[in-house]
Symmetry: C2
Subunit: 227 residues, 2 copies
DNA sequence: CCAAAAGTGTTTATAATACACCCATGG
DNA sequence: CCATGGGTGTATTATAAACACTTTTGG
């Protein structure tokens, strides 16, 4: 490489992952207890520095793999955070990502070893630096995505009831949705297949399980939740 | 500052601006002829490196001010481009921004001095590096914004006809819009004020000029163009 | 029996779309 | 007088939202 840019400054470049999971009717975030300075002992997003041979996407995947053991995680860039004073230990430009994780699949022991913990979105602890702002922007992005296509395959188990799917959407949009209208809307997308099996633990009558039809284009081009 | 991060690598951090303008019924991009290596002589977005005391937002504003002489430019971050090989001259992480410029206001002599030129979005030249991808992502963001709130005050002159506004929207969404329906939709937002003056140069009958009502919340919370 | 979710159907309100039609006027 | 955009009105269709009602079953 040449030296054309040598008069300009270089900075650390990090990624921070806003990791969404869904469990017990609650949208959750995977946070960890920082084991190093600065801000040692405080709660923070999962992050790390971008290596010389990798893009930020690759770095984010590497970090998620380390923590959760998962390879095929849905990942989307949120935005860059670049305030010169955002990290008191040095000039760090951080690229926020959001990830969707199926909690039932990830390696929970690896998560625990890393001092990580799932926190309900409704009661987050104080976060270091500008991580709270990252969470807010990531939630906006998630709402945007979920409003245009059916998420769920990235967050729910293989089979799930429409109640579970609706509760997920209510958690994402943080408001109630009409059960009847939601059911009709979702089924009209033709991306779910009803299974014969029923879930009898969450209602007396029992609700059919559904699964995503393989290969059904999830991007339905119809608005699922009006924004 | 400490030395906690010293084992990690540092990279150049740049911003590249996708500068939209509107003129003669055409959505245009301000590009410039690179005067330095690498890729000297090719067309490129306006860009520059982020300084030690500034955020990337500030850097983008500084660059836009240098080129156009304008201070109050609408600016939004698009996304980070981080491929390790995206710039052959060194590891440069670039943050793409999109800007909306009123061509009638900017300092055209300063633009010319910088070797810059307005190109119609319909016939762009080949761009260096990943700048074409930046333009595509920026247009997506612009469509998203324009679909949810009335842009125009950032791109059109102080007074304009509804024909001009519709042509702007058709340029942004790259499809035709029904004149009657567009008019009703726009006027129902109650953010435009009809002036007594008429424009008689673009139609025989003459069309009323409109202007944006000061302080009218532009974010109308109604969808202007369905996506 | 009753509460609670499952599942279906109906009604109303609102928004998107298509398009007809008259107006004004420069060439 | 006529082509062109200005401007208004209306019919049709699609979608969102509200909500009534019936079914099922464990406690």
């Amino acid at each position: 490489m040449g030296d054309k840019y040598n008069k300009f400054s270089k900075y650390f470049v990090a990624v921070d992952c806003v990791i969404f999971g869904y469990e017990d009717g609650d949208l959750k975030l995977l946070l960890y207890h920082r084991g190093f300075e600065p801000a040692k002992g405080m709660w923070s997003l999962m992050g790390g520095f971008v290596g010389e041979e990798e893009s930020s996407d690759t770095a984010a995947r590497r970090i998620l793999k380390n923590i959760t053991g998962l390879d095929d995680i849905y990942l989307e860039q949120v935005q860059a955070f670049t305030d010169p004073k955002r990290d008191m230990e040095g000039r760090v430009v951080s690229l926020a990502y959001f990830a969707l994780i199926r909690i039932d699949r990830h390696k929970s022991d690896s998560v625990r070893e890393n001092g990580a913990h799932w926190w309900s979105l409704k009661s987050l602890p104080n976060l270091v630096f500008d991580h709270k702002e990252m969470v807010e922007k990531a939630l906006e992005k998630l709402q945007n995505k979920a409003g245009l296509e059916l998420v769920g395959s990235e967050l729910l188990p293989d089979k799930f009831t429409l109640l579970q799917l609706r509760l997920l959407y209510e958690a994402i949009f943080q408001r109630d949705l009409d059960p009847g209208n939601f059911r009709k809307k979702i089924l009209s997308l033709n991306v779910l297949q009803r299974l014969c099996e029923k879930n009898t633990t969450e209602s007396r009558r029992g609700a059919h399980y559904f699964k995503f039809i393989d290969g059904a284009t999830e991007r339905s081009f119809e608005r699922i939740v009006k924004i």
